[in-house]
Structure formats: C-alpha cells, structure tokens
C-alpha cells in the first residue's frame, strides 16, 4: 500500500517535472547561441498562459487558442531579446542579467493588474478522469503534458538538425565568430533562439495551466525549478534536462508528501547550489577549457 502511494507520488511528480524540463530547455536554446538566459522566463510562461486564457474567454476554440498563445510567447521572447539582451550582448557585458530580471518584474506587475492576483482555472477539453495502471492513477491530462513536451522538443531538435536555418543555429552555438565570417547573422540567430524559447515557454504555460491553474505567482514557482533542472543537467544537454526534470519532479513531490508542501522547493534549490559547487557545467554538461 505504502509502495503504491510512493509510486503514485513519483509518477505524478515526474510528469510535472517534464514541464520544468521544457522550460529549462528554453534556457538551453538561448544559452547555446548567446551564453545568456532570460531570468524572466517564468513571467513569459505566466503571461502566455493568461493570454491563452483570455483567448478562450473571448470565445476562441481550443485548437485556435494553442497557436495564438504560442505566437504570443514568440512575440514576448523577441521583445525580451530586443529590450534586454541585444545592447548588453553587443557590449559584451552582463547587464542582461539585471535587465531580464527587470523586464520580468514589469511583466509580473502587468499581469497582476490586468488579470488580477488570484489563481484562475484553465478550461481544457482533455479529460481529467483518472485511469489506473498497476494501482497508479494517471489522467489523460497528465499524459497530454508528456506528449506536448516531447513532441515540441522533438520538433525543435528536428528543426535544428534538418533545416538550413537550424544548421545556422547550430553553427552560431558552436562558434559565433566563425559563423559570422561564413555570412550567418549572429544577431538574427540570437533573435531566433529567443523566439523559440518564448514559444517553449508559452507551450509550458498552456500545458501546465489546466493542472495547476493560472496566477501571477506561478511564474516564480516554475522558474526556480526550471533553473534547478537547467543547472543540474547542464546548459547544453537536451537529454539531460528531461532526465533531471523527471528526477526533480519526483523528488519534489515526495518531499512535499513527507515534509509538508512548504518545503517542496527546498531539494531543487539545494541541488542547484550543490551542482554549481561540484559540477558547474552540470551533470550532463561538458567541461570547458580555459584559454589565455
């Protein structure tokens, strides 16, 4: 009996963990092209989710809401790149850290005032009636999260490998200067990566909202875990985020079961600090050699 409970915790935690993995994947996209991440990514998730909810409120059908929300995420990602990243990257400074934090705060405040401070339910046509697998109950909704995460990540990886634009993306990730000399615009590629990471954030928002509800505070709750996943896995391993995401999600759900929900964020945070201390490039990351 006890074992069933633990298995249940692990499975539903792991499915949530996939959402963290998806957001962390968004960090990897931008980190690979520009060595920068959007500290306000959580706000992107939240704003896209709210926007999608508004589309539904306006009477848009579900199949139209999804692309609408994703497009909104792309636009936000591009806006962050323009306002917060481009100048700092040109000047090779780390001013973008502060600027993306600031833009996130602006987004948070806007959401608080436009959509209110309360959590709101997010309607979905997918059923949340539990199905039993060996005593562990899983809802179709949770399965839809897994499908959504894997299909989006798979599509983006396919795009990076099979299309010319995607190859340019990989080229800039490998060596920015060499790519520029070959006639690839690094600025446009960074834009592309921020657009994609906005898309990924919006997808995460649309996937997770039916389970968790939508509210301004979802931003900070999600982003800390996504940071943990990204750092523990390493900022260059797409496979790593999925593994670590599943692990962390399960760990978090067990922690909140045994220690109380207030502590649920603690293991992720401790893991993050430990990972930075022991393996700054992440468990699945490659070590870099200092050159002088």
């Amino acid at each position: 009996m006890d074992f069933i409970i633990i298995a249940q915790m692990v499975v539903s935690g792991a499915l949530m963990g996939l959402v963290y993995a998806l957001i962390a994947y968004g960090f990897q996209l931008t980190f690979s092209t520009s060595k920068s991440i959007n500290f306000g990514q959580g706000e992107l998730v939240m704003l896209s989710a709210f926007f999608s909810l508004t589309l539904l409120d306006w009477g848009a059908p579900f199949w139209l809401m999804v692309p609408g929300g994703l497009l909104f995420g792309v636009v936000l990602g591009l806006a962050v790149e323009r306002a917060g990243l481009r100048l700092a990257l040109e000047q090779k400074s780390e001013g973008w850290i502060l600027l993306t934090i600031i833009i996130g705060l602006l987004g948070f405040s806007a959401a608080e005032n436009i959509w209110g401070r309360d959590d709101r339910p997010f309607p979905t046509p997918i059923s949340s009636d539990a199905m039993q697998f060996f005593g562990v109950s899983i809802t179709p909704l949770e399965i839809s999260v897994a499908i959504g995460v894997f299909s989006l990540m798979g599509l983006i990886e396919l795009f990076k490998r099979k299309t010319l634009l995607g190859k340019a993306f990989e080229a800039v990730s490998a060596d920015r200067d060499a790519a520029e000399l070959m006639g690839i615009s690094a600025t446009r590629t960074v834009m592309l990566s921020y657009g994609l990471s906005g898309l990924v954030a919006a997808m995460a928002g649309i996937l997770v909202s039916p389970i968790t509800t939508v509210g301004p505070t979802m931003a900070s709750a999600l982003i800390l875990k996504a940071f943990s996943v990204a750092v523990v896995a390493g900022l260059d391993s797409g496979f790593g985020v999925v593994v670590v995401g599943i692990f962390l999600g399960a760990l978090e759900s067990l922690t909140s079961f045994y220690l109380g929900s207030g502590w649920r964020e603690a293991p992720g945070l401790i893991l993050l600090i430990l990972a930075l201390a022991v393996r700054p490039n992440g468990v699945f990351g490659k070590a870099t050699i200092r050159k002088v």
Binding site: I97, L99, L105, F108, S109, G262, I273, A277
Partner: protein
C-alpha cells in the same frame, strides 16, 4: 591636496552633522522613522555594493541576508536575552558565516551562474524562515523587543543616532578597505580572474572575503532593521525587495559610498513617493525630461547608441502616460520600479553618483592625490648574481587535450641568469608548455622542478614560488590604472592584517607600494602614464605594462609569452632594451617569440619545439642551421627542386 581633503572630507562631515541634527530641529516621529530607515539602508547598500560594484556580480541574496540578520538579532534577544550590541554582533556573525559558506560554491562561478546561486539561496532562506515555525513563528511573524544598550533603554531618537553611528563607522571602515589592496584586488578579480591568480593575488580568498563582508553588512543592517520595526515577517525579505535594493545601488552609482547613500535615500523615500500622487507625477515627468535631454544630446553628439538613448525615453514616457491613467499607483509599484530601473540601467549605467562625480571634479578641479617619488629600482628589484645552475627543470612533460598531444614529452633545463628562448612554428606547443608551467593546466604526465623541488599545482600557488608571467593575449585589469595594475601584484609590501586596514592604519604600506610600482613603471617607460587606465593605453604600452606587473611579483623566473607580437618596430627595440635591463638584474627569463632577430640578440640558449616535442636546442646560431628546424619551419625540399634553385 588640501583642497581635496577639505572638499571631500568636509562634505562627509557636513552631511553627517546635518543628519544628526535633524531630530533636534524637527520633532516628528514620521521624519525620524524615515531617517532611521535611511541609515539602515545605507549600511545595507554599502554591503551590496561590494559584490555588485567591486566584484561586478549580480547578487540576489542580499535581501535574504537582511532577513537572516534580522531574525538572528531578534531571536538572540528573545531566546538568549542578549543586549543590543551582542545581538548585532550575532547578526553580523550569521551574515559572515552564511555569506562565507555560500561564497564557497559560488566561488568558481561567474555572471549568470553566480546570480542563480544567490537567487536559490535567497529562495531557500525564505522557505526556512517560513517553515521553521517553532523558531521563527513562520508566516505569523515574530515580535522583537528593542533590547537595552549598555544598561540603558533606547528611545526612537537614541536608536536613530545609534544607527547613524553605525553608518559612519561602516562608511569609514569600507572606505579604508576599498581604497586598500583589498579593493584593488576585488576590481582586479572582476576584470581578469586568470591574471589575478597568475599574479599571486588569489581569486579564491578575495571573492569569499568580499562576499562574506558584504553579507555581514547586510545582516548588520538586518539587526538594526529588526530593532527598528520590532516585527518581522519572512515575506518582507523577498525578491521584490531585492530588486529595489539593486535599483538603489545602480541608480546611486556603483563603486561609490556616496552612491550607496543616495541609493539608500531613494529606497527609503520610494514608498512615500508612490503614495503621493502629485509628487509621483512630478518625478516621473522630471525623469522623462532628463531621459529626453540626455537622449537627444547623446544622439546629436553620437556618444550613445540609438537604443541607449531611445529606450529610457520610451520607458519614462510609459511611466508618465501610465501615471495619468492608473487609478492606484500602489498596485503598479513593481512595474514602476521596473521602468525606473530599466531606464537607469540602460541610459545611465554609471549611476547618479558616477555622473555627478565626473561633473564635480571638473567643477572644483580636484586633482587626484599626488604620488610619492618613485623608489630606487635597486630597492624594488635588487640585483642578484645568479650562479648559473639549473633553475627550472622539465622532465618528460606531457599535456594532452583529448587526443591532441599539445605537449608530448618535453624535457628542458633552464639555467639561472639565462634568457632561454622557446621557439617553434604555430601549434608546436609553446604556449601550452608555458600554461602548464605556470599552473593554468595540470600536466598529463611528467615532472617540473624549481630549484630541485616539485612545482605546486594551480596558478596561484605557482605564482607564489617566484614564477611570474605575461600573457600572449593581454590579461590586464582593464578598468584599473597602470599604477594600480602594478600595485595589485606587488609582492612583499602588504602585510597589515585586515583589522588594521579597516581602521585605516595601513596607509604607510600603500605609499610604499605606490613608489615601488612607480619605479617599475619607470623601468618599462610608463611612469608618465601611471594614472591612465590600462584599457586606454596604446597596444605596445599595454604589453609593457604586463611586464611591469609581472616584475612586481619580484620573480626569480619571468616567462614572457610572445611579448613582441604585434608590436611596431620602435616598440620592439624598446622591448629588447627593456629585457636587457631586466636580465641585468639577475632575473632568469623564458622568452617565447617569433621574431628571430629578437631571439638571436637576446637568448643564451634556444629550445625549438615542433609537434609538442623538442627538436633542437643550442645557441641561436646553432639552432638556425639545424636541418630539423629548417624542415619544421619551411618544409623539405627534394633534391631535384633544390638543384633547380641552385642553378
């Protein structure tokens, strides 16, 4: 000199006296509360400026240290019955220890990773304060009573003066610290961690010390905060406060005590600014005006990028337009902070104080403090008569990168007093060999002996054994002046312990370091540029400055990694003459160089590397005639072709 002292110290004293006198003139508890908050935030921001300004890292844990310090003080009063001073000491200690502990993992991290580590620490401490209900009372909050101070109970006015005294003490101590070797080391660390280690300054302890001290100040401010408000809640110390604190530091101006003070006034006044509608509208209009003026001026003079000029105008414009439509500004406070901070970070990155300082020094024509006369070179770099015995021995040294055998079994003996040339075609392993000797890379195999003793591992430790180096790709501390670049590496001058430095009793060694550094600058013909920051020197002068900085380590063995690369011919002559003069002082030199004329003129022995192996060794003339060397540089010529050439 006198004018400088009068103006700068005078301004400090006048402001302090004014602040202290205000409660005597106005008896208003509201004003008193604001002033107390100002003093507390002043301490807090001075602490934050150490990491954000001097170490140049985005620190998101400072609000957490404020909270931890506050709870530590509050609990040591309620649980342990401590008096005020001992409770504050507990606060500081908590900040110092936790700051030190956090700095250890955060130690190796730069930029985003550092920000992430501090962010998670911050979230973690909020979780603990919230959830450890038995101790902290959790979300219910904690009531703190203001304890007695040396047997007296303290009223609000007395407490304000106490806070002011703490602010003044912190101000003095930090001024002493930051203008000492410590402050220079913090800044050196920001500009080039590699060179900081290579110069034996130590990134490790300075980063930990800087972060721990900054955090201790944050916690001290937390203790005062607890006794001021007498009620604590975990929610007070979250992310939003952190952003406001960063706003204070950035708007006030980084790397400046006055900047921290102005930032603190702003942070203390902000809530009032938002609650008074008219005041808010006036200030946002003024902000828009300032952004417009600065932006248009910058665009006309082409000193700023279009984005830098336009974005603040848009942000402030949004603030003004927003202020007309929004009913309750309190609801939008986060957005308002965000827009202000955005404008400042983009449009005025040096902050108000950086801007004002430039303006004021021009207005009053304040000269920088005068420099002491240069020391005699013999006292700085005493001439030695080397015995010619083996100094550095490499036995079968190897360094592989994956499958690449960059250095593949190199054995070299460098004799003391020699100038030992190390040449070879590009990619032959010269720089890697030097990087292994100086400790940047650990060797894959082999032995390295200095005076017959094995070299320690790590750049910092190697630098301490008396090996000093320059870098092929310059690694100067670009924001520091030429003089400071040399001073920061100066060996054997700074001995005063930290407490003496904090009390300002270590000025003597500062003067000595200055005159010693000037002597070295004179050696490389840079004395007249002592006050110019390294990034503004010409390329040739930057190369020479690196040599002076390496000499400040008073090395037995000096490694010059392609010092003539990219130099114009007159500079090459200067360099050759410079190396002779260093050689005359008995310093052993390893010279990596491509200019064969320089090598021929200077070197006693030349070792030639190719493909990670030694292919020839001998005098420059011998080496030049060696067929293997000719082959490595020019390739082989078969007999038929060579016959054609000779015909």
């Amino acid at each position: 000199m006198l004018k400088r002292l009068l103006l700068i110290r005078g301004a400090e004293i006048v402001v302090l006296v004014l602040l202290a006198a205000i409660p005597l003139m106005v008896s208003n508890s509201y004003v008193l509360g604001l002033l107390t908050l100002l003093a507390i935030y002043g301490i807090l921001l001075i602490g934050l400026d150490v990491t954000v300004g001097y170490l140049g890292q985005v620190n998101l844990a400072h609000a957490a240290f404020l909270g931890l310090g506050a709870y530590a003080a509050g609990l040591s009063v309620s649980l342990l019955g401590f008096g005020m001073l001992s409770a504050l000491a507990v606060s500081m200690l908590v900040g110092l220890i936790l700051g030190g502990l956090l700095a250890f993992p955060a130690l190796r991290l730069e930029g985003p990773q550092f920000a992430l580590a501090t962010l998670s620490f911050s979230a973690l401490s909020t979780t603990v304060l919230n959830e450890w209900e038995g101790l902290t009372g959790g979300a219910q909050g904690l009531h703190v009573s203001r304890p007695i101070f040396w047997g007296h109970s303290v009223n609000a006015q007395g407490f304000y003066w106490l806070c002011l005294i703490f602010l003044a003490l912190v101000w003095l101590a930090m001024r002493n610290l930051l203008s000492s070797q410590w402050g220079r080391a913090f800044e050196a660390l920001r500009d080039s961690p590699i060179a900081t280690d290579a110069m034996g300054v130590g990134t490790y302890r300075h980063k930990v010390a800087g972060f721990a001290m900054g955090s201790a100040l944050g916690s001290l401010a937390g203790g005062l905060y607890a006794f001021n408000f007498q009620y604590l809640q975990p929610q007070s110390f979250v992310y939003e406060l952190m952003v406001i604190l960063l706003l204070g530091v950035v708007l006030g101006g980084r790397k400046s005590l006055w900047g921290a003070f102005f930032g603190a006034s702003l942070v203390a006044l902000l809530p009032n600014l938002l609650s008074n509608r008219l005041l808010f509208e006036v200030i946002s209009a003024l902000g828009l005006l300032a952004a417009l003026l600065a932006g248009v001026r910058g665009l006309m003079k082409k000193t700023t990028q279009p984005f830098q000029a336009i974005a603040p105008i848009l942000a402030m414009g949004l603030l003004v337009v927003g202020s007309m439509f929004v009913k309750n500004t309190e609801d939008w406070r986060k957005a308002i902070f965000a827009l202000m901070l955005f404008s400042v970070v983009v449009g005025l990155p040096e902050g108000l104080m950086g801007f004002a300082a430039r303006f004021l020094t021009q207005l009053f024509r304040i000269d920088p403090p005068s420099l002491p006369p240069a020391a005699i070179l013999d006292t700085v770099l005493p001439a030695k008569s080397p015995d010619g015995g083996p100094l550095l021995e490499l036995h079968d040294l190897k360094r592989y990168f994956g499958g690449v055998k960059a250095v593949d079994g190199v054995s070299i003996t460098v004799h003391s007093g020699h100038i030992h040339g190390l040449i070879g075609p590009n990619g032959s392993g010269k720089s890697t060999a030097v990087n292994v000797i100086s400790g940047l890379y650990a060797p894959s195999a082999g032995e390295m002996l200095l005076h017959g003793k094995a070299l320690p591992s790590g750049m910092f430790n190697v630098a301490r054994t008396g090996i000093s180096r320059t870098f092929q790709n310059l690694q100067l501390f670009s924001e520091l002046s030429a003089l400071d670049n040399v001073m920061v590496a100066m060996k054997g001058v700074y001995c005063a312990p930290l407490p003496l430095v904090l009390m300002g009793l270590a000025r003597g060694e500062e003067k000595r370091a200055q005159s010693d550094a000037l002597a070295l600058l004179e050696l490389v013909r840079l004395k007249h540029h002592a006050r110019i920051s390294a990034k503004d020197l010409t390329y040739g002068d930057q190369r020479f400055l690196e040599i002076a900085r390496a000499l400040a380590r008073k090395p037995e063995l000096l490694i010059l990694d392609e010092p003539a690369a990219g130099l114009a011919l007159p500079d090459v002559h200067k360099l050759v003459e410079m190396i002779w003069r260093i050689h005359e002082r008995g310093v052993t030199i390893i010279l990596i160089e491509h200019h064969m004329d320089v090598v021929s003129e200077l070197c006693d022995v030349v070792t030639v590397l190719d493909g990670g192996r030694v292919i020839a060794e001998g005098s420059a003339e011998e080496v030049k005639r060696d067929p293997r060397v000719i082959k490595a540089y020019l390739g082989t010529v078969d007999e038929a072709t060579s016959a054609k050439i000779t015909n």
